[in-house]
Assembly symmetry: C2
Homo-oligomer: 194 residues x 2
DNA sequence: GGTAACATGTAAGCGGTTACATGATTAG
DNA sequence: CTAATCATGTAACCGCTTACATGTTACC
């Protein structure tokens, strides 16, 4: 296998090992937690990917069962570290910022709805954003801080805080839109300029 | 065919027709422009989708060639309008906010890079964000305003302005991170508290 | 004794992307 | 006369998601 055959998912697995994960299971849990919000990694891809990376000599695995429970721990080989940094350095390959958000998509077409229905919709988006802020505060940022303390890796927590700030911004945007919409439907309550 | 067989892409096509597009080609160009940043619609899906929607009775098409150039214009039927609003009303189906961003993903693993390489990386993200702001100002927001003037639909421009504000926020986040990183690598230039 | 967490997988299907294919009209 | 725009498609691949499958250990 050649490095050119590596998919993004391969680098995600490689990267997760490089910042401290040891087993497929650990990657699975922490990748879902930390990456979910800006890069989907399907749990089911992890194990085949580990096999590919091992065949390519980029990681090295050894069986370390805990009692009768099978477990396989991995280390990144020097070749693996090189492949990862080479990929990280390629700034031509940062591509587009893509989001897929059914909530925003539906808002895009919201002219087909009644004003009060739109308000409900925006409120739902705001609730969702605030929910993400809570999850980030309670789980993802602490997980990032553990990665910093245990493995000396600082960027996972930088990204987690980015996510927190973003979702807080989005909740604020929703609130402002809600205020505008409410002011329109009740023009009597419009404030007079000082 | 049943409404339950409709995919999100079906509703996107239906929605684009409902806010003023007439032909597959028009959907193709304007959907790529307006939606690209928060919902991917592959151009190639549009024509098969139009066929499906017509078979389902949700849109009605008629051939209106321009000269010798084939063209097929579509209208949304009452059944189509109902299907669209029903989908729009379903707030349980707004799902997660997902983004896929190679740039942020690579930053997540950036502990493997040298500090100056990380700075370059963040600068690239900032450039990209500023590029989006320009595209939104020059193309997408004006396109949204045309949709408002011509068809009386206001939410496309609301969403476009959301995008503008977001990318401006992201550029600002990058700048702040760059300032932090620069301050670290040159501690001599650290300002003294007043 | 039961449930949650640990740990690793397989199989099928399909939605979306990539690449390809065709042809007319208008503007410079 | 040539490039850009208008206009509509097909075929093949493959990566990802969904659903399923299995067994152990620790805790209450």
């Amino acid at each position: 296998m050649d490095n050119r055959d590596l998919k993004t998912a391969s680098y995600v697995v490689l990267g997760m090992l490089s910042i401290g994960s040891r087993s497929g299971y650990e990657i699975r849990t922490s990748a879902v937690l930390s990456l979910k919000n800006f890069w989907g990694l399907s749990p089911v891809q992890i194990y085949p990917e580990l096999k590919r990376l091992e065949d390519a000599g980029l990681i090295h695995g050894r069986d370390e069962p805990r009692g009768g429970r099978a477990r396989r721990l991995f280390d990144v080989t020097p070749a693996g570290e090189q492949a990862l940094t080479q990929w990280l350095r390629d700034l031509d390959d940062i591509g587009d910022f893509e989001w897929r958000d059914l909530g925003l998509l539906k808002l895009f077409f919201a002219d087909a709805l009644e004003p009060n229905e739109v308000l409900e919709h925006v409120a739902a988006l705001r609730d969702r954003a605030n929910g993400y802020v809570r999850t980030l505060d309670r789980e993802i940022i602490p997980a990032g801080e553990r990665t910093l303390e245990r493995h000396g890796k600082r960027y996972p927590v930088v990204i987690a805080k980015f996510g927190r700030e973003f979702h807080a911004w989005m909740a604020d945007w929703c609130e402002r839109l809600e205020a505008d919409l409410a002011a329109e439907s009740q023009p009597r309550s419009r404030r007079v300029a000082p």
